[in-house]
């Protein structure tokens, strides 16, 4: 378990800092922003285990995020304590992923992508019709609302997501997942049970997406029931993960930092211009820096030591062309 020793110093320091931050720092604006940041990290991290490590591009993350938010909100406002309600939200998301995943993961690459997008669309339309209004927290919940429990809830979900996902991808299972991503047929020939690992990755992914949704419903006092199902929740994790660095643990974290910073800096001036910039950056990254921001130092080193490597014409998820 060498993985746990040297590399853990910086993450441990960051975690300790985030844990003690609210004790001596009370700026509500910044704590709110950190909660949003944590939400994006959890969501993109959960996308990454299926999309980045296993190579199955899921364009329907909003369905799993939304179902987690919906179930958690319903359970929690009906009087159940928050933690069981949150776990209920995560579990319902896993159940949905198994219902969808078992047939859908047999589809080939791009069919899986369109299939999951359709699932997200179905979920959005259905929820818009069943719950057309806004959900308000009951009065007694609002009276006791404070930011600190939200902050720590997000932080704990974030930690568990990062720990579980990094344990999973650094194990034998992770190797199997990466082999599926790099070459499905070769992995199958080498005796990897492709379908099993895809389903496991999908279940882990949607569990944490569901928890992120639960956190969302805990964080917001009132929102449209259909809002966590909005298609933007499908796209944001993909943007963030690819910009940060797909198939790495740090990638989604760095990507979310950039995304939230950009979103905040343009929030007051122009509506959605941050998405425009991020879309353009995303195209640029896919074409020229397939490893994301995380891979840029390595790229520079490559340029300095070797002759100019050709970046153009390289597959995004790792495998280079012959």
């Amino acid at each position: 378990m060498r993985f746990f020793q040297k590399k853990m110093v910086i993450p441990a320091l960051i975690v300790a800092f985030l844990f003690f931050l609210p004790l001596f720092f009370k700026g509500e604006y910044y704590l709110n922003m950190l909660c949003t940041l944590f939400l994006y990290v959890i969501l993109s991290q959960s996308w990454n285990i299926l999309g980045g490590y296993t190579g199955q591009i899921n364009v329907g993350q909003a369905a799993f995020f939304g179902i987690g938010a919906l179930v958690t909100r319903l359970l929690w406002t009906s009087g159940i304590p928050f933690v069981p309600a949150l776990l209920g939200g995560g579990l319902s998301s896993v159940i949905l992923s198994l219902l969808i995943g078992i047939p859908a993961l047999r589809l080939r690459g791009h069919y899986f992508a369109i299939g999951t997008l359709s699932v997200a669309w179905i979920a959005l339309i259905t929820i818009e019709n069943i719950f057309p209004g806004v959900t308000f927290l009951p009065g007694k919940y609002v009276a006791t609302y404070s930011l600190l429990p939200r902050y720590y809830a997000f932080l704990i979900i974030l930690l568990s997501a990062v720990i579980v996902i990094s344990l999973a991808v650094h194990s034998r299972m992770g190797l199997a997942m990466e082999s599926i991503r790099d070459d499905e047929e070769a992995a199958q020939a080498a005796g990897v049970n492709i379908f099993k690992y895809k389903v496991i990755a999908f279940a882990i992914s949607s569990f944490f997406a569901g928890l992120a949704g639960g956190g969302f419903s805990f964080f917001h006092v009132s929102y449209y029931w259909s809002m966590p199902f909005a298609l933007m929740w499908c796209f944001e994790p993909i943007l963030i993960t690819f910009i940060g660095g797909v198939g790495t643990i740090w990638g989604p974290i760095i990507g979310s930092l950039c995304y939230v910073a950009l979103k905040e800096s343009f929030a007051l001036t122009m509506g959605e211009i941050n998405v425009l910039i991020f879309g353009a950056v995303f195209i640029f990254i896919i074409l020229f820096f397939p490893k994301g921001i995380i891979g840029i130092p390595e790229k520079i080193r490559e340029h300095l030591t070797k002759r100019m490597g050709t970046n153009v014409g390289r597959d995004v998820l790792g495998k280079s062309q012959p």
Binding site: S118, T126, I238, D315, V316
Partner: protein
């Protein structure tokens, strides 16, 4: 007779779906480029014909050649900038990379459109907009009739073009084997470039029809979703199948509107789509398993 009226509207909707999907059928079905931005390009085309109408009063049906030229050039620019580096990829990698790149393009186009034209819904109001005639007791709008005729002509025209001409057959050859097509003396780069330009240019026809109904920057994803359903239903690589798939989808949607209410028609079509994806991924009209 009410059912007949529903089916009439279904046929008209289906013709519009087919018109939007036809370009994607060429780009995705034959060239193997998964262009998620196809609907957004149709949205731009619709805004262009709206612009022609508002500035110079040119009827959307008549401005098609003009907007087609604009979109052809735009398509060539997009192919040069974004997709030309993927031409040597294997089929799966090409689909995945082009999907991600075009996904970024969707966000860029949609937000640019909001900046340029604002998020309001608009439409072209011609003198014949609300008019209809009676056909065997059914009410058929003139726009609907024009759409159906246009869809039939365009789709069978493209089908013949791809099957009969040297250029059309060389597109097929390249999509099957890039290296081999090159060895056979086909100018692969130019052919792919022009084929992509044609695929995007075809959205001009769809855009003209869309502009007669509703245009807003957010319609791009809706249309690409419908087009993907059609391309998969028809079977990847089938061009004339798209018309039948469109009519099938349009009729199914309007009949389901009759039974489950207008709010759930989108759900019905998507569920049918998922079932097709799972049980018959080669599509309804393709003879062999698609690549």
């Amino acid at each position: 007779m009410e059912m007949g009226q529903f089916i009439t509207y279904g046929v008209i909707n289906g013709a519009i779906y087919a018109l939007v999907a036809i370009g994607l059928g060429l780009i995705m079905g034959i060239m193997g480029i998964f262009n998620l931005a196809h609907g957004s390009l149709a949205m731009i085309a619709a805004y262009i014909s709206l612009w022609f109408f508002q500035s110079w009063g040119i009827d959307p049906f008549l401005s098609i050649p003009l907007s087609m030229v604009i979109l052809f050039v735009l398509g060539i620019g997009i192919y040069k900038g974004l997709f030309s580096s993927m031409k040597k990829f294997s089929a799966g990698q090409k689909l995945r990379n082009s999907m991600l790149v075009s996904f970024g393009l969707v966000l860029v186009i949609e937000n640019l459109a909001v900046l340029i034209w604002t998020a309001n819904e608009r439409r072209v109001n011609t003198t014949y907009s609300g008019l209809a005639f009676d056909f065997a007791g059914l009410r058929v709008p003139y726009i609907g009739l024009g759409t159906i005729l246009l869809a039939v002509v365009v789709i069978f025209g493209l089908h013949a073009f791809l099957k009969r001409t040297f250029f059309g057959r060389s597109i097929w050859a390249i999509s099957q084997d890039y290296q081999c097509a090159k060895l056979m003396g086909i100018n692969v780069d130019r052919t792919m470039l022009i084929a992509f330009g044609i695929g995007v240019g075809l959205t001009a026809i769809a855009g003209a029809v869309i502009s007669l109904y509703t245009v807003s920057p957010s319609i791009g994803l809706d249309w690409v979703n419908k087009s993907l359903i059609l391309v998969v239903l028809a079977g990847v690589g089938s061009i004339d199948g798209i018309l039948f798939a469109g009519l099938l989808l349009g009729i199914l949607e309007s009949v389901s509107a009759y039974f489950v209410g207008v709010h759930y028609t989108g759900v019905v079509s998507l569920i049918i789509f998922l079932l097709i994806l799972m049980f018959r991924p080669q599509g309804l009209f393709a003879k062999k398993v698609g690549r």
